[in-house]
Symmetry: C2
């Protein structure tokens, strides 16, 4: 029996599985945020750089593993990352991308096949969705989700370790908790070192250069209520900010919220 040369698009969009989400993105059936899709599976930030910059960026990530945990990386020129999904094609499988030239955003396509080059290297970097799932599964309330907002993020006075053209401040996300819940959140996220791991700070925002806890540099305003402590995690916006600051001649990233959905299970990222 003859096999079709190209797989037909799925008859029905299935956003409950990683393959289904990737197929939907590939077919153009989804073009925005991937939150709450393929629950239980790891979603990642995307950074694509030409080979020469990629080597420096890899070194930056190795030197700053808390904000830049690499969970997958392609061979130069290859759009495949089989460890994250056998069928995965990094050029088509995210709902939306951003194209950067000389540090300026020039396009937001849903497919980057036309932009692909044989010197490009794709990096997939862990994101807080993974540890947030573990926090929610343990019954810990996440304020920004309750409020239907993006998590609040700040540039801090903590400098990343620089590597070549990549340098800049650590960006952190903040989630408020009661003290007992904060202790539990530290325990739970310590189990996930490959998706930012334990918090980097707790309780004293000014000590890391945050002057106004009500006004984040990225994301939406949060609320730290009486009897709560702000808890700060290293954030995947750090590498994005560092790439933007380096103003590379050419780069591609995911569009905010439109992540790569991988076959990895969040629970398998737990070290214990």
């Amino acid at each position: 029996m003859a096999m079709p040369a190209v797989a037909a698009p799925p008859a029905k969009v299935d956003l409950a599985t990683p393959l289904g989400v990737r197929q939907a993105a590939r077919a153009g059936a989804i073009t925005g945020a991937t939150a709450d899709m393929a629950n239980g599976h790891v979603q990642g930030n995307l950074a694509i750089l030409p080979k020469d910059l990629a080597a420096e960026f890899l070194r930056f990530c190795q030197l700053n593993p808390k904000p830049c945990p690499i969970i997958g990386m392609s061979e130069p020129g290859s759009p495949r990352i089989p460890t994250l999904g056998a069928d995965l094609d990094i050029r088509t499988d995210l709902p939306r991308y951003r194209i950067w030239r000389d540090g300026r955003l020039v396009d937001e396509p849903t497919d980057i096949t036309a932009h692909w080059r044989d010197d490009l290297v794709a990096f997939v970097i862990g994101c807080s969705f993974s540890f947030e799932e573990a926090l929610r599964a343990d019954g810990l309330p996440l304020r920004h989700i309750e409020l239907g907002r993006n998590v609040a993020m700040w540039r801090t006075s903590i400098a990343c370790v620089p590597a070549g053209r990549f340098a800049g401040p650590l960006v952190v996300s903040m989630r408020p908790f009661t003290p007992a819940d904060a202790i539990r959140a530290i325990q739970i996220t310590s189990r996930f070192p490959s998706v930012h791991g334990a918090p980097v700070h707790i309780g004293l925002p000014e000590a890391i250069g945050i002057r106004d806890i009500t006004r984040p540099d990225y994301g939406d305003r949060s609320e730290v209520r009486a009897g709560e402590l702000p808890v700060f995690w290293a954030c995947g916006v750090t590498p994005q900010a560092v790439i933007a600051a380096a103003k590379p001649a050419f780069a591609i990233t995911h569009a905010p919220g439109a992540m790569l959905v991988t076959d990895l299970r969040n629970s398998r990222l737990a070290v214990l």
Copy 2:
């Protein structure tokens, strides 16, 4: 060859090993605090109660494992706890004891053989020395040790789960840390659930009924400096306070600081 009926006292006091410390206590060669003796080995709080009260106390400890982690327990009437030391005799192996009648301290002997009864049950309860060793080994500074003081402790507004005649507030010990060190201290002590485990509170003393962080209810005054957070652990003084409040007709405890030194290694209490 004839064996002597009673073992001769050790020719030389060796306070570096658990057996050496117990032999020294047995011989009357040490009569006070055991801090920094037999480093690397678990020291325990002692509580001895008549059989009927012991059943209620055991239930209290089971219901309140964070302040009352039982690491050893004798059979009624037996002064032996072989799991903590093959030679161990609870009547002679602590440097100093306290005898309580109707809730009043009546004697502080160095040997309780004359007080022993065949209805007594001995409880050995884990103490913070074990996790403090792990914190120090990781390079975390302990303020009270730097200052040569006892750790500061408070009665909190958190009620223990009552059991029979035993009830009362949770007592906590406090150690100040920078935020990053506090996160590390939470990780380390989480590995030691049988010696109080993770902190119960951090950062907001008033939320657990502590009005003045400079004035502890037990131990010595501590200092929380600018840029530090107070971190609170459940404390082995809790069961002692609860026993004192119950005013049992008869009870024996260790004298403050004069602990039982066991053969258990602190590192073996780590769950991971």
